[in-house]
Symmetry: C2
C-alpha cells in the first residue's frame, strides 16, 4: 500500500519511486526538418511531406502511426504488450492521434496541452508505470506545418507574410516507449504546470506567451527539488524560439537562477532560422517530440549527456478565443530524465 | 514500493489498491436541462445560458470554473490543496478548460476524449491518487449546446432541421473532487477504452458510432473483472441516446451479457425527448458529467444505489476529417464507483 503522498516532493513536483525506463524512441520528420542542423539525429526523414497520403491531416496521423510502430519494432514488442497509449496533437478534436490510435490495439488516453503535449504525455505515461498501473506505455505527439497553418492561421494558398516573431510548425512525430524495467535513461521527476497568462494577444508571438509558463515551471521544479541550472546537462524548453529563449533566461535570472550553461530551446535548435527562413524558430507538438526522441535521447544513450530536463511549452490559443479578444494562456510541463 | 503490475487485473482494467473517495461533486446545467426529468438533482440551474458572459464559449468556461469553486467550497478546501486538475471539453484547443484552469491555482492536465472525457478525467484523477502522486484531485468537463452547435454543425442562425437520430448537446458542467481518504463512494476499477470505428459517417448519428465502443469497453470490463450486468445497480453510458442504447443492449446480448436490469444512458435520461424536442437525446462532455455529479452521486450518497459503472462515450469526429470522407471513430472509458 502507498502512503498517499510519498511521491510528492513539493507543490508541483513528484519523485518517481520506480522510475520508468525509456527503452526506445522514434523520430520522424518532414523534408525541411531533415535539412536542419539536427538532420543526422532523426530516424526517418520523409522526402514527401504528405507521407503518400491524400491530405496533410492524414499525413500527420500516418507519421504518428509509423513512429509508434517503429518504436515497437525496436523494442521487439507487439501492440498488445502496451497497456496505455498516451497521445495528443494540435489538430481540432486530436484527429491525428485519434486516427492513429484507431489503427492500433492499445487502450488510449487522449491529451491536449498544445505544444506542451510531449512532456504532458510523458508525465502521464510515466506515472502510470510508476504507480503500478502499467508495465509498458507509449507517449507520442505529432504536428504538421501544413495542417497547423490552415487550422490556426491562413490557408497556404493565401501566401501571407510571416512576422519576425512568428514560428514555423514542425512537421514531425515522436514516440517514446516506457517500461517498468531496463538499463536505460529513466524518468525521475515530474513537475506539472499551471496555466499562465501574461496578456499576450498576438498569435504570431507565441514565444512571449509561453515563456512565462516555462519560467514558472522551471522555477517550481528548482524550488521543489533543490536543483538548479548546473544540475542538468541540458534544460530543453519546447518551442519558445529566439524571442522566448531570451525572455526565459532573463526572467529566471530575476528569480536567482542562471540556466545559460545548459539551456537550449528545441524550436531554436531544429532549424537554421536565417538560412531556412523560419523566423523565430520551430514550434508544434512535434518539435520537442522529435528533438527529444532524436537528438537528446541519442545523446543520452551514448552517455554524452546524463541528466536532462525536458520542458515542453504550449500556447493555449484558439482561433475562436483570439477572435473574441482573449489573450493566449501558456502552459509548460517538466520531465526530468536521468541515466 | 509497488510491484509494477499489481494493480492490473486484465488487458484493459486496473483495480485500485487505495480507492480514491469522491468527497464532493457539483453539477451546473442550462435552463433546458433544468426543465428535464432530472431537474431536481442538479446543484445549479442557470436561468440564462450565457451565464452573464458575452459569448457562449465564455459562458461554458465560466460554468466549469463555477463547478470547480463550488466543489471546493463543499469540501472546505482551497485551490492550493488540489494537486491536479484533470479537465477537458469539446471546444477546439480545449478552450473552456484552459480558460477555466487559467483562473485557478492548480497544476493542470488537459484531456480530450470528446464526450468520453468525464470518465477519462475521472480515470486519470483517480490513478494519480491511488498511485501516490496526489492527495486531492479534481476531474471536470463541460459542454454547451450553442458553442458546440456552431463548432461542429451549423450556426444557430441558420436554423437547420435536425434529424431524428441527432442529439442535443447538453449545456452543463460537472466537477468531481477525489481524495485519498474519506467515507464516501470510491473509485474501485478503471477500464480504459480503445478507439473503435465501425464506419459510421453521419455526424447526426453519433449514437451508432459510439455504441460499439461502449460495448467493447463494457465487455472488456466484464471479462477482466468477472462481473456482469447484475453486479451493478446502475450501468450508465454517456450519451448514446435512444439509437445507441438499443444497439448496446443488442450487441452485449450477442456477447452473452444482459444488462437491461441496470442499464441507463445519461443522454436518454436528461431530457424528455418528445416534449423537449431533443430527438435521440442529450450528448456532450457535460451530459454524463452532470448526470453523474447530480443524479447518480446523490443516489449513491443516499445509498439508494451502491455500485455503478460510469461509461462515458465519445464520438471522435472532427469537421475536417468528416469533410475528408473519414468515418467517426468512437471511444468509451469505464469507471467503477462503489459505496
Amino acid at each position: 500500500m502507498n502512503n498517499t503522498n510519498n511521491r510528492r516532493v513539493g507543490r508541483y513536483t513528484v519523485k518517481l519511486l520506480n522510475p520508468p525506463a525509456i527503452i526506445a524512441t522514434t523520430s520522424i520528420v518532414g523534408p525541411k526538418e531533415g535539412k536542419g542542423p539536427l538532420k543526422d539525429y532523426f530516424d526517418v526523414v520523409l522526402t514527401d511531406d504528405t507521407n503518400g497520403k491524400e491530405s496533410f491531416e492524414k499525413a500527420e496521423s500516418s507519421m504518428m502511426y509509423d513512429a509508434i510502430q517503429q518504436t515497437l519494432d525496436k523494442a521487439n514488442l507487439k501492440e498488445k504488450d502496451i497497456d496505455y497509449l498516451c497521445a495528443g496533437d494540435l489538430l481540432n478534436q486530436l484527429s491525428s492521434s485519434n486516427f492513429a490510435a484507431r489503427e492500433v490495439d492499445m487502450p488510449f488516453i487522449g491529451l491536449y496541452g498544445a505544444c506542451s503535449t510531449m512532456s504532458e504525455s510523458l508525465s502521464i505515461a510515466s506515472m502510470l508505470i510508476d504507480g503500478g498501473f502499467a508495465k509498458y506505455t507509449i507517449a507520442s505527439t505529432s504536428s504538421h506545418f501544413s495542417s497547423a497553418e490552415r487550422q490556426f492561421r491562413f490557408p497556404l494558398e493565401f501566401g501571407s507574410q510571416r512576422s519576425l516573431a512568428s514560428q514555423w510548425t514542425v512537421t514531425g512525430s515522436g514516440a517514446v516507449l516506457l517500461a517498468s524495467e531496463g538499463n536505460f535513461p529513466r524518468v525521475t521527476h515530474i513537475t506539472t504546470g499551471k496555466v499562465k497568462d501574461y496578456g499576450i494577444k498576438d498569435p504570431n508571438n507565441m514565444g512571449a506567451a509561453m515563456a512565462p509558463a516555462a519560467v514558472d515551471t522551471i522555477y517550481n521544479h528548482f524550488l521543489d527539488t533543490g536543483r538548479d541550472g548546473n544540475y542538468y546537462d541540458v534544460i530543453a524548453t519546447g518551442d519558445l524560439g529566439k524571442v522566448g529563449y531570451d525572455i526565459t533566461v532573463d526572467l529566471l535570472k530575476e528569480y536567482g537562477y542562471d540556466i545559460t550553461s545548459s539551456y537550449i530551446d528545441c524550436g531554436e535548435s531544429i532549424f537554421d532560422n536565417e538560412k531556412q527562413n523560419t523566423c523565430s524558430g520551430g514550434s508544434g507538438c512535434g518539435c520537442s517530440a522529435v528533438v527529444f526522441c532524436g537528438y537528446l535521447y541519442k545523446q543520452l544513450m551514448k552517455k554524452e549527456i546524463q541528466k536532462i530536463l525536458l520542458v515542453s511549452t504550449g500556447a493555449l490559443m484558439s482561433p475562436t478565443t483570439s477572435f473574441q479578444g482573449e489573450s493566449m494562456p501558456g502552459i509548460a510541463h517538466a520531465v526530468s530524465i536521468e541515466f
